[in-house]
Every structure is written in structure tokens, then in C-alpha cells.
């Protein structure tokens, strides 16, 4: 064996060993370098004592101690390393991640600036509240779409289509001669973000929108984004409260600044920042939404079972008030979210287990409760008349009911080994455009249909 060959084989062996070591979370790159220096010197010493190089390597590795206990010792000394540090991680800051953070922050500031842009043309937040409510999604969602267009390197043609969708939406949101406080205007304001969220999803999926996996990733992303946004909003609330308190103490009123600058601009920017955080940590930290789902699925199932039991026991009819159906809509949304995020975290090849049975119980109870509510309302809907609000609420209820009913069927088939779990995934991901289509319908068709009421 010639000297260079043996050298290169030692390098290979050391590289492999280094790779094993680097996988340990508690052992950082600097420590690996330090240990490698030790290993190489040990090998050199043993070779000098007359051993062959590969023998020397084996002994040196053995003397280093087994990886598990070594990693445990490092973890004991550096316990902070077991907590994944995301934003302030000193290592792994590559030019790519830095560039991405710059882009994300720039877009977040862009969203905040866009929000203040109309004020330059005299459309101030104080006087034109409804203009801002109507157009709220247009300040942050295009920036978010832009972020994903940049990150996924979308084709120019796709970007043009997405931009066109935003332009069309902006036209429909603003051209109708609706009463600003009318119900069709408020419905449009609520439904517009839902419709536009699909546009964000197409950008997010970056060419994988037609695949189940691509849409499932978008569902996961949406759940995490919601959680991150809520956390950021809570932090923002604390900041705003402090600001108000300490400036109050020196006699300066900051309510106007909070209401027209900090809170709206912060919210617009936070959408982009939260998305960037979700992207950055997706492979590093366990997703939160499925964890919450695990916690709350049994609780919601228990509540619904008790509710149905009480309904049967007391024989009380559901006292449907005019707005009561919204509560049942909300229930279906929650159940759908619970089902969706359990599906998103489940290994689709795993066999059916206890949690799946629990899901079916939850689904069946939700369907029964909703059926009771719908039954109660059916007789009276003609009596009350079809207002835009009632049609919208009823429409959502039907859409969710169809989704959950078919999900239940698919779940039953899966439990009885007659169908695969993938069918359920396909059904849920395939259903996503339905929500957006309904939302678009409410925004575009409702105002003329109901005479711009």
C-alpha cells in the first residue's frame, strides 16, 4: 500500500466518523474539529508505535468512547444545545438563509409601507376605515405571494397569473356600489382573504399545487402560520400596552399612533415574518398544529358526545335563533381543522389505531349535532327570508357538511380495511379549491344578487 492511498483512506474514515459525530445535536462543529484533532494525533501516535493505520484508527475511535455516552456528556455540559435555537443560531447562517431573511424583512416593511401609501393620497385610516377593511388582504398577501414566488423561483407566466388574480380581486372588492356597512360589503370583507389565500397557496406550492403532497404542505404551512401569527400578535399586544402605559405616564397620548401605525403596520408585516419563520423552522422544530390537535381532539369529542347525550336525555329541541347557525358553522370549522391537522401529521401507511377511532367519533358527533341544527332551521328559513347573511352561513354549513360527511365515509372504509388513508388525504386536498370558489362567489356574485344590500 502506497503512502498517499493509505492517507486518503484515513481521511475517508475520519470524514465518515466526523459525519456520525456531527449528527449529534449536542456536539457542535467546533467540538467535532477539536475531537478530530485528537483522533488524528492519537492515530499518528499509534502508527509511530508500529500499528497499521486502519488498526490505529479503530483503536483511536474506541478510546474516544462510544458516541451515545459522549453525546450525553456533551449534552450535560451544554444543555442549551438541546433547545433548538432558530433565529440566533451562530452556525448554519449561510448566505442563502441570510439572503432569505433580508428578503423577508424587506417584504414585511414593504407590506407596512403599502398600508400607509393611500394616506399620501388623502385616504387616511381615521376617515376611510372601510376602504382599509375592504382592501386589508391586498397589503400583505401580495407581498407574501411575492416572497414565495422569489423563494420557489416561479416561472414568469405563473407570476403573471397570480398578479392578475390579485388585480381582479382588487377590482371586485372596490367597484361595486355597495353600502359600506351593508351585509354584502361585510360578507365580501370576510370572504376575500379566504379566496386570496388560494392564490398564496399556489405560490407556496410552487408548481406542486396539482399534487396531493404540495397541497398538504400548504395545509401544514397554514396551520403553523396561524400559530406563529397568533404568538407574534400576542407579543405585539404586550408591546402596544407597554407603549401606551409608559407614554401615558409622561402625558403623551399614543393611541392614535398605535391605532393607525403600530398595530395595522405590525399586523401586515407580521404575516410575512411569520411565514418566513415557518419556512425557516419547518424541518427543525416539530409542527405545533398537530400537537394541539392531539390535545384537543379527545376534548372536543368528549364535549360533543356529552352535548348529544344531553340533547337526547332532556329532549330539548335546539333553540335556533337567527344567528345560531354561525355557532354550528364554527363547530364544523373546528372539527375540520382537527381532522385536517391530524391527517397532515399522520404517516399515511401506518395502520389504523385508537386515535383514528377517536377521529371518527368526533366526526360522527359533529355531523349529528349539525344535522340537528339544520333540521331545526330548515322549517324556519323560509319564514325569516333569505338574507345575504343567512345564505352565506347556510352555504358554508353545506360545504363543510359535505366535506365532513365524505371524510367520515372514507375514514370508516379505512378503519374497516376497505380503503387506504391516502384516499382521505386526496379528498381533503382536492377540496381546498371549493372553499376558495365559494368565497369568491360570495365576493363577486352576492352583491349584485342581493341588490348591493
Amino acid at each position: 500500500m502506497s503512502v498517499p492511498t493509505s492517507h486518503s483512506s484515513l481521511d475517508e474514515q475520519v470524514a465518515l466518523w466526523r459525519q456520525f459525530l456531527s449528527r449529534r445535536q449536542a456536539i457542535h462543529a467546533v467540538d467535532v474539529a477539536e475531537l478530530e484533532d485528537h483522533l488524528r494525533e492519537q492515530v499518528a501516535g499509534l502508527v509511530e508505535a508500529g500499528l497499521a493505520q486502519d488498526e490505529a484508527f479503530l483503536i483511536a475511535v474506541k478510546r474516544m468512547g462510544d458516541l451515545d455516552s459522549l453525546s450525553r456528556e456533551f449534552a450535560r455540559e451544554h444543555s442549551e444545545r438541546l433547545w433548538k435555537q432558530l433565529v440566533a443560531s451562530p452556525e448554519g447562517v449561510t448566505t442563502v438563509t441570510r439572503q432569505e431573511s433580508v428578503v423577508a424583512w424587506a417584504l414585511a416593511f414593504g407590506a407596512a409601507l403599502a398600508l400607509k401609501l393611500p394616506a399620501l393620497f388623502g385616504i387616511t385610516m381615521e376617515e376611510h376605515e372601510h376602504f382599509y377593511l375592504r382592501n386589508a388582504p391586498f397589503f400583505s398577501l401580495p407581498m407574501l405571494t411575492g416572497y414565495f414566488a422569489w423563494k420557489r423561483r416561479l416561472a414568469p407566466a405563473t407570476v403573471r397569473w397570480l398578479a392578475l388574480a390579485f388585480v381582479c380581486a382588487a377590482v371586485f372588492a372596490n367597484v361595486y356600489p355597495v353600502r359600506e356597512t351593508g351585509s354584502t360589503a361585510i360578507l365580501a370583507f370576510v370572504h376575500l382573504p379566504v379566496a386570496l389565500w388560494l392564490v398564496v397557496g399556489i405560490a407556496y406550492a410552487g408548481g406542486r399545487w396539482s399534487q396531493v403532497a404540495g397541497r398538504m404542505d400548504f395545509i401544514r404551512f397554514s396551520g403553523e402560520l396561524f400559530i406563529y401569527f397568533a404568538l407574534i400578535a400576542m407579543g405585539g399586544g404586550v408591546l402596544a400596552a407597554f407603549l401606551a402605559m409608559i407614554f401615558e405616564s409622561i402625558g403623551i397620548k399614543v393611541e392614535a399612533f398605535l391605532g393607525t401605525w403600530l398595530i395595522p403596520c405590525g399586523a401586515a408585516g407580521a404575516v410575512v415574518i411569520a411565514s418566513w419563520l415557518v419556512e425557516a423552522k419547518q424541518s427543525v422544530i416539530e409542527n405545533m398544529a398537530p400537537v394541539l390537535t392531539r390535545l384537543f381532539t379527545p376534548l372536543f369529542a368528549a364535549v360533543l358526545v356529552t352535548f348529544l347525550g344531553a340533547l337526547l336525555w332532556t329532549g330539548n329541541g335546539v333553540n335556533i335563533e337567527r344567528d345560531m347557525l354561525i355557532a354550528f358553522d364554527a363547530l364544523l370549522v373546528v372539527v375540520l381543522a382537527l381532522v385536517l391537522y391530524s391527517i397532515s401529521a399522520r404517516d399515511s401507511t401506518a395502520p389504523a389505531g385508537g386515535f383514528d377511532v377517536l377521529q371518527v367519533v368526533l366526526l360522527v358527533c359533529a355531523l349529528l349535532a349539525d344535522a340537528v341544527a339544520l333540521w331545526a332551521i330548515a322549517g324556519r328559513i323560509s319564514e325569516w327570508g333569505l338574507t345575504p347573511n343567512r345564505v352565506a352561513v347556510l352555504g358554508i354549513n353545506l360545504i363543510l357538511l359535505v366535506n365532513l360527511a365524505w371524510s367520515t365515509v372514507l375514514y370508516f372504509r379505512f378503519l374497516r380495511h376497505r380503503g387506504s388513508f391516502t384516499a382521505l388525504e386526496r379528498w381533503q386536498t382536492g377540496y381546498l379549491p371549493v372553499y376558495a370558489a365559494w368565497a369568491a362567489l360570495v365576493v363577486i356574485v352576492f352583491p349584485p344578487l342581493f341588490g348591493f344590500a
Binding site: A33, E34, L35, D37, Q42, F74, E77
Partner: protein
Amino acid sequence: MNESLGEPDVEINKDLMAASSTPIVLSILAEGDSYGYAILKRVKELSGGQIEWTDGMLYPVLHRLERLGHVEARWEVPEGGRRRKYYQVTTRGRAQLAEEHRQWRAVDATLRGIWQSVVTAGSSVPVANGPLPQGAW
């Protein structure tokens, strides 16, 4: 190896190993700046091969001493060599060493005193069973 020196192999238990690692490492560093491999070699040399640490375990000890401010570390790259992390004892480390020295001397003195009275001359094994009255078994 040790048999050739006529001494039995001593297996030092984990707790004692952990307790002694700080004074040993600090003492070696007090002789002069050093790095992991050299420290281990010195330990082996000083103990006549009786104390053998698992190599990797030295590093968490060094890192702990660094965190406590007893030693300072620096990376050096010798001409044409690998970069290597050197450790240097600090003033606080020397104070700690002095303190450890006092404590170990106290323990040492105590054990010496008590063993002189119970250990039979010439034997390295304490006569644990010797004084027991016959028939106790």
C-alpha cells in the same frame, strides 16, 4: 502492562474519576498551556498508566472549566498543521486549584491516618475480615 510493574490494575470508580478530573486537569494546565491529547498523555504518564480516561470525556470537562472561567481556550494553527484548541489556566482557575489542593490534602491525610491503623503492614489490602471473630460465618 501494570503487572510488569508489580502493581495491581486499579479500576477507579466513576464518582472518584469525576471528582478528581478537575484538580488533575487544572494541575496539568498549571504546568503550561496544553491541548486535549497532550493532557490525556500527561495524565497517563503521571499515573503510571493507572488512570485512563475515555478520551472523549475529557472535552466536556474542559468545556465546563471554560464555562466556569477556570480556563481559557484559543484556537491556534501551527505552520502547515491542523488547527488545535489550546487551554490556558486563568487566575480564577489557579485559585480554584489551590482550593482543591487544600481539600484533597485533607481527604488524603484523613485516609492515610485511618488506613495506617487498619491496614496490615506490607499488604495493600485492608484486613476487613481479619478482626471478625471466628464463627461469625
